[in-house]
Amino acid sequence: MITADNWTPDQPIVALHDVHKSFGENEVLKGIDLEVMKGEVICIIGPSGSGKSTLIRTINGLTPVTRGSVKVEGQEVHDPDLDKLALRRKVGIVFQQYNLFPHKTVLQNVMMAPVLVLRENKDEVRERARSLLAKVQLNGKEEAYPAELSGGQQQRVAIARSLCMRPDVMLFDEVTAALDPETVKEVLVAIKQLAGEGMTCVLVTHEMGFAREISDRVYFTDAGRIVESGPPAQIFETPKDPRTQEFLSKVL
């Protein structure tokens, strides 16, 4: 069995096995198996309410699972003795609503976690934060407050904030769903650049064109189960399952 001690980078960096999640009587995840290799870009698509967001949130322990196993680099996420800090250092997440700290400037938002959580040197972190902000095309916005920015800009700050923790895996939970059509693209460009640099990414998305372009593999979920998965060309052009066919005929 793979554990945190014998995990090597050629084994799945994220591995979900038979994951179940219920909210009261309502079973949202009904046995999910999913594996992500280092450097892979995975997109999870499917109709609303199919459990996509719940699924991605189990990976960094924000949503505890009812049954099954979630491992990141061999470490069981839902082990009660787990050092949550160590996990969250490895796994970054970007949310649909950006969730920036409204009382901190853009630069402070990006710097806060490495300084407070990792106790890194402030000057080094500032340097890194500035270069990350430049990377997501936000130079000159360092001293602005989140509410002074557009949605697309805020989302790129959120991406930089996550990256400043130097995670091994990035999770994106419908990060363009709250954005205007014009600003969607600037966020997608930032993610694409990141994926191009070899970052392991797991995305829940409704942007089918983007999913097809960026992913190594696509998972289609419906009603709490993974219906089918495979390379984007296969899922989008020759879907096998009738549910996948029906979904894609509606959204494409």
Binding site: N60, L62, K84, L85, R88, R89, G92, I93, F95, Q97, N99, L100, F101, P102, H103, M112, A113, L116, V117, L118, A144, Y145, P146, A147, E148, L149, A158, R161, S162, M165
Partner: protein, 248 residues
């Protein structure tokens, strides 16, 4: 200062009978100044204590330990639902009677004097409101913002100090201003346990000089000016802490 205004007020008294004795009599002048000074000290101490209680109480209310939450709830029920004057008398005469005395070398003084008891009683009274005020602020902090901090690896304590509290404080500032103003005025109750604050000082003067209406006017003016200053300070704090662009 007194030298400049004394002739006018002396003449005012002689010609109209309006006796503002603190404005020409050095003894009453000192009583007035001292009363104002003690009043300001008292108000600052009360507000400070009530804020500390408010923050700690609001934090304790989110505790995972049921007994702690229950204790905070009981505290609020008791101190919000009883009159502050009853609490003051209870602390001073009830608890004051059983607190130890300190040997001052020949004579004994209570460990906590009337000023101390007034701060404790009114501070605890005001704190019970502040807990609820801070709680309303804490509840207004979006859960998703807290979740983002959690996902970045913040500990619960770091989340409270760096995210929840600064936002909650901003959200509850208008309600907090009301309570602080109310506490500043409630501080005059310390009169009943002989704390030499302004109300007590002026009552000393009007007992000696039988100039109650004049001293009442003075008292009114003092509180009006004081509260106006507090309100000013709080609104400038509100402006300084405003989140640029937020909620627009």
């Amino acid at each position: 200062m007194l030298d400049i205004i004394a002739p006018f007020f002396e003449r005012l008294y002689e010609t109209t009978g309006l006796n503002f004795s603190p404005f020409y009599d050095p003894y009453d002048w000192n009583r007035l100044l001292r009363g104002m000074w003690v009043s300001v000290e008292l108000i600052i101490a009360i507000i400070a204590l009530s804020l500390v209680i408010g923050v700690i109480g609001a934090g304790a209310q989110t505790s995972r330990i049921r007994a702690v939450r229950w204790l905070v709830a009981a505290y609020i029920e008791i101190f919000r639902n009883t009159p502050p004057i009853v609490q003051l008398l209870f602390f001073y005469f009830g608890l004051g009677a059983i607190t130890p005395q300190v040997d001052m070398g020949g004579w004994y003084e209570p460990m906590i004097g009337s000023f101390g008891w007034a701060v404790i009683a009114i501070g605890i009274f005001g704190g019970s409101y502040n807990v609820e005020i801070f709680r309303s602020g804490v509840e207004a902090v979006p859960g998703t913002t807290v979740e983002a901090a959690e996902a970045l690896g913040f500990t619960n304590f770091q989340i409270f100090v760096y995210v929840t509290l600064p936002l909650a404080f901003r959200f509850c500032l208008p309600a907090l201003t009301n309570n602080i103003i109310s506490l500043a005025k409630t501080s005059s109750l310390a009169y009943v346990i002989a704390v030499p604050e302004i109300t007590y000082s002026l009552s000393g003067i009007w007992s000696d000089s039988v100039n109650v209406p004049e001293m009442m006017v003075l008292l009114f003016v003092y509180y009006i000016v004081l509260v106006a200053i507090i309100a000013r300070l709080m609104s400038s704090l509100e402006r300084r802490l405003a989140l640029p662009g937020y909620g627009q």
